[in-house]
């Protein structure tokens, strides 16, 4: 479904991503793990056209999307939940969710999806009139994921949903990620919490200094001695 070929990202002289190639099949959850600065976020941002890649191609559902306008990515069916959540702090929770449905006109359908988001995250329903900037970090992460779902995407790109959250909150968020995946969503999941990411994905890629150093079934990666030593703290 998503094919990334030779993707290359640089910031001035810094080579953040060096010609990486990987793919995500329909209905799959794929983990992309790696240490700080490995180039994971840069990869996602380049796919979502938040930044320009220096080279390489991205195809989605057979269509080349690596040159389209940033605001058209979501219209192709890709929703990015950015690193640090990126909620609109001075919009209410409800308005943030409405922004998620910005590209859609069918209000009836959007209402249904709003209900679905509130079913996934009842906490958001309780706080729908609150300004998003006053939510806790975990609630903001819920909101960011809920907002992405409001566009009815074909695929979710999640950038470190566990970042800075208490373990209990991480669990809650990942329960929903699993539930969304079980409902058929295709997901590319970036995580520093490698164990968590590999546990809820089918395949995984390991990134190191801008390159993919390992890939395989998540279960195999979890058993791989190199992965265990470097990313699972064993």
């Amino acid at each position: 479904m998503l094919e990334v070929t030779g993707l290359h990202v640089a910031y001035g002289g810094i080579q953040a991503v060096r010609s990486i190639t990987f793919h995500v099949n329909q209905g799959e959850t794929v983990a992309l793990i790696g240490a700080n600065g490995a180039g994971k976020s840069s990869t996602l941002k380049a796919i979502a056209r938040v930044i320009d890649a220096v080279g390489g191609d991205v195809h989605f559902c057979g269509e080349k999307i690596s040159r389209i306008a940033p605001h058209d990515i979501i219209r192709k069916g890709i929703a990015l939940v950015p690193e640090g959540r990126g909620v609109f702090p001075r919009l209410s929770v409800l308005e943030n969710l409405e922004m998620g449905a910005y590209i859609r006109n069918a209000t009836v359908e959007a209402k249904k999806d709003l209900k679905m988001v509130f079913d996934y995250f009842p906490r958001l329903k309780e706080r729908e009139d609150q300004l998003a900037g006053t939510l806790s970090g975990g609630e903001q992460q819920m909101l960011a994921i809920g907002r992405a779902l409001m566009s009815r995407p074909k695929m979710l790109l999640l950038d470190e949903p566990s970042m800075g959250l208490a373990p209990i909150m991480v669990q809650k968020i990942f329960e929903v990620v699993r539930a969304v995946a079980a409902d058929g969503m295709t997901i590319l999941l970036i995580e520093q919490n490698a164990r968590l990411a590999l546990q809820c994905s089918q395949r995984g890629y390991v990134m190191e200094s801008g390159e993919i150093s390992l890939h395989g079934d998540s279960a195999q990666l979890l058993d791989d001695p190199k992965v265990r030593a470097a990313y699972l703290g064993e």
């Binding site: 605001h71 219209r75 910005y102 907002r147």
Partner: protein, 307 residues
């Protein structure tokens, strides 16, 4: 007492005009952190376009009401186009440049527009055609005119409309989202370029309306009139908290009142040493005081809030 009430009325009228112009500064600043110093010149061009259009139609024998409406429409359309062009030509290429660059460009555009107006309309003061009936009212010893009432009412209605647009429509929500985090707004499918252009176009339309009001009120216009008006409206925007719509409205009215009351009493306060023609100093005293003690203005958001 009567001079007090009189100056309150004058201040409200002048303040409504400042508020309309201040909104143009604040909308653009709120969305992209740019101070569009050429905005005062957009207002000036609105005034001059109305003089030409309404004046010509009046001479051709068109009824005053129609000629006035046509003049206003022409000013609004020309200014909207001008605002759009300014963003497109002067500011968009500098979107990612250091902050000082677009600021210098703004000052440059202001000079360009002034000179353009001078070439088109000449250096002389021009009389603004009388478009509204001259009716006077009296209230508790103070005098006011129908024109003053209309200016205040139309400004209030326009500002109400703007608030509805920004807080109740999809475009308004996209504008607020873009102001808070343009990169994420774009991930939601918002075409940032269009939203920024909309802020310029709407701000310029408000400026055109203000330009027509200034012309109607003072009945005189000049290619340099945008400079002082722009500077004062900018002061009003800073006073209210630049980037904040309600702040610009309140700041405009407050500045109008401060100026009017200051001008009314400056003679008494200085024992006749300074006369009311010194009223311009109040705006700049306000600007300096605000910048020194509360640079975020009355309703200012913490600057760190901007994404």
């Amino acid at each position: 007492m009567d001079i007090f009430l009189q100056q309150i009325i004058n201040g409200l009228v002048q303040g409504s005009i400042y508020a309309l112009v201040a909104l143009g500064y604040t909308m653009v600043y709120g969305i992209m952190g740019l101070i569009n110093f050429a905005h005062g010149e957009v207002v000036m061009i609105g005034t001059l376009v109305t003089i030409t259009v309404a004046g010509t139609l009046l001479k051709a024998g068109m009824p005053v009401a129609l000629a006035g409406m046509a003049g206003l429409m022409a000013a609004v359309l020309v200014c909207m186009a001008l605002g759009w062009a300014l963003e497109r030509v002067a500011y968009r290429p500098l979107r990612h440049a250091p902050r000082l660059t677009p600021l210098i460009t703004a000052i440059g555009m202001s000079i360009v527009l002034q000179n353009l107006a001078m070439m088109l309309w000449g250096r002389n003061y021009m009389t603004f055609p009388s478009l509204l009936p001259k009716v006077d009212f009296e209230l508790a010893g103070a005098n006011f005119t129908a024109i003053q009432i209309i200016i205040v009412l139309v400004s209030a209605a326009t500002m109400g409309g703007l608030l509805l647009l920004v807080y109740r429509t999809k475009l308004g929500m996209a504008m607020r989202a873009t102001a808070q985090n343009p990169a994420v707004a774009s991930l939601m499918g918002v075409n940032i370029n269009r939203v920024i252009a909309a802020a310029f176009v709407i701000g310029s339309a408000l400026g055109a309306l203000a330009g027509v009001m200034v012309g109607t009120y003072y009945e005189i216009a000049h290619y340099q009139m945008g400079f002082m008006l722009g500077l004062k409206a900018f002061t009003a925007a800073v006073l209210g908290g630049i980037g904040n719509l309600a702040g610009a409205m309140l700041g405009g009215v407050l500045l109008g009142l401060i100026e009017a009351l200051g001008a009314g009493y400056i003679g008494d306060l200085t024992g006749g040493f300074l006369g009311s023609h010194y009223q311009d100093i109040f705006a700049f005293v306000v600007l300096i005081v605000v910048l020194m003690f509360k640079p975020s203005g009355l309703f200012g958001e913490k600057t760190g809030d901007r994404a």
